[in-house]
Symmetry: C2
Subunit: 382 residues, 2 copies
């Protein structure tokens, strides 16, 4: 299969390039280094500085003999994206090229506007390029479980049949997101669904929970293949941040009561989910939605798990509740259905103590480069 | 009241400026002349060429002694918009400044991207300016009945209580729009709702049906105060186009079967709805949604009404079904609830033969300037 990976330098994009390449697929990766540049601007670099994307692809080729072609550029520029589609004519495109941080999107008008423009125009451009070059090309889009928010009813897998005054219809599950970033993902889904039914395209929209972990089978082949692992308030995800806080001797920052519950998954499972989606594509005219998570945890449960493993490893972990800078429900119902990817063949890596220990061990090697100032700056939703 | 009208040069914007001004309110109007420029680019000018916005405001002042202050500029430029908010500090802002045409949004990638960027960034900028200058300022946003699409259940007024597996919650009514333009309106509503609940703002979102008519009490005071009245495929609304086709001796272009049903209202009622919303504002932390329409008609019903009145006036009106360039259901359920604005005091002007005759009479005076090439170019959804 010929697979185009947009956002190829990112936490998920780079390991995905390797995962597909390792399995014999032809991979082209594209990135504009947004995250590297934002990390410099906001003083929140990843734990381990990876070589640039072209260098990483060269290292991969050295080790495996497999080629990943890289383009550096911005896919909000339609002509740039179109030229790649025309040259490569992919069978599937994976869209990781969105501004992915909720706090970033809440920092200022300019960062909010950037998030809207980047996330919606990249998606629009992909839709147009697919239509123009090959309408059969399967679009795999990363959504987020955050699109659903925390409704008081069960979260179904993308769709909801509604009976109202004796009549019935089926709708996209009603969504109500918790940040501007998450709202752009809701908007993306609406845009994808409109063009799918208008142009008869095929789309898989993956509603992904927060991801944890810092290695996959492929990235473990050489230390220089490490994914970009963020632990800061802006680009770090919850569990990753807690582990680095524990290693650094910094209290785990629980926002408010800590009963906020979300669906999580291991980085290795993201690889599986995207791969399974690509090898078993959506039908023409279908937007197929999966809830991409393997387990639910509250913030407090994760803090306790990290403390337990951290204490065992000798870190003396403290947990501290701080005033919640976000506007979110701290006590809520949360029950999610997520059978679609299991039905495709996902074999989950659950969050065991051993999995946590392995992340601690890698993190500890890089302890000296942890920037404690990046853990919490209180970017406020207000 | 100090009222800021964005999109003040448009079909609805200009009569709104006059309506508020006539009733003693202080009005500032802003426009970037997008519609005038697009009309030139696409050879679809309005039926009657109005003086430019600054001139029209001068004419209004000549006639009534009332001042409307005009700014010409683009409110996607945040600093421009913010400077107006800081200088004027409005009590309410009416947002008509969106790219309003479904066919325009379907013409090309560039026009689609323009629609997304213009419609979402203008809305974002208004939200930020209100937050920064005066969070009590009431935002009145024009949505569209097209956000709902044509679901198989009753269309409620913005919200829907859903019972699922024995649990309940209330959501924004699930929406599924029929063009990219209409999809940006869905996206707008999601964005407004996010910031309303995060920043405790007050918003009224008016889900408006297609508007018809070309005069109000205020525009009738002088022929130079006429609103921009479009009858073309791109910017014209359905009933307005049918009347001008009838006057020009051109068959009424019914798309497909013509059973497509929508909610309509008179331009005079749009004035009332916006005015009533502004004098009885939404609460803090509330996004109040009204369905802004007074009657439902199918395309065929409107064609028959126009034919009946046109024939009586001696026009010999023909109706022609043409292949539908849009992707839409031609037979569907349609039952809308719209009591909110009636409860605020709306007194509807229904679509009587007399109302139609009055539009015919004005249109006939401008018969010689009708551009028949603009009626139908077949801008395709495919």
């Amino acid at each position: 299969m010929k697979i185009l990976i947009l956002g190829a330098d990112g936490y998920l994009g780079w390991p995905s390039c390797l995962y597909f390449s390792q399995r014999g697929h032809e991979v082209v990766g594209v990135d504009n280094y947004f995250r590297r540049n934002a990390g410099k601007e906001l003083d929140c670099k990843p734990l381990i500085q990876a070589p640039d994307l072209i260098q990483r692809a060269n290292i991969w080729e050295e080790i495996t003999g497999k080629n990943i072609k890289i383009h550096i550029g911005d896919i909000t520029d339609y002509e740039f994206l179109l030229s790649i589609f025309k040259e490569f004519n992919p069978d599937a495109v994976v869209h990781y090229a969105e501004q992915p941080s909720a706090p970033y999107s809440m920092m200022s008008r300019d960062k909010a506007a950037f998030t809207v423009q980047n996330n919606l125009i990249t998606t629009l451009n992909i839709l147009y390029a697919v239509k123009e070059v090959n309408p059969d090309c399967h679009i795999i889009k990363l959504g987020t479980m955050g699109e659903y928010g925390t409704p008081n009813i069960d979260i179904e897998e993308g769709w909801l049949e509604i009976e109202h005054k004796g009549r019935k219809d089926k709708f996209l599950y009603p969504r109500q997101a918790g940040s501007l970033y998450h709202t752009t993902k809701v908007q993306d889904t609406d845009m994808l669904w409109f063009y799918v039914r208008t142009w008869n395209l095929r789309v898989t929209d993956l509603m992904q929970g927060p991801v944890y972990g810092l290695s996959t089978e492929e990235t473990d082949l050489d230390p220089r293949l490490v994914p970009h692992f963020h632990y800061d308030e802006i680009f770090g995800t919850l569990l990753n941040r807690f582990i680095i806080q524990a290693v650094a001797g910094y209290p785990l920052t629980v926002y408010g009561k800590g009963n906020q519950t979300r669906g999580f998954l291991n980085l290795r499972d993201t690889m599986q989910c995207v791969y399974l989606s690509s090898t078993q594509p959506a039908e023409k005219g279908e937007i197929r939605i999966f809830n991409q998570m393997t387990e639910s945890f509250s913030v407090n449960q994760l803090a306790e798990k990290v403390k337990k493993v951290g204490d065992k490893l000798g870190y003396n972990v403290k947990i501290e509740s701080i005033e919640n800078p976000r506007i979110e429900k701290e006590d809520h119902y949360y029950n999610v259905n997520y059978t679609g990817l299991l039905d495709l063949g996902l074999e989950p890596h659950f969050l065991t103590d051993e999995v946590l220990e392995n992340i601690f061990v890698i993190a500890d090697k890089h302890k000296s480069s942890i920037n404690k100032d990046a853990f919490f700056r209180g970017i406020s939703w207000k």
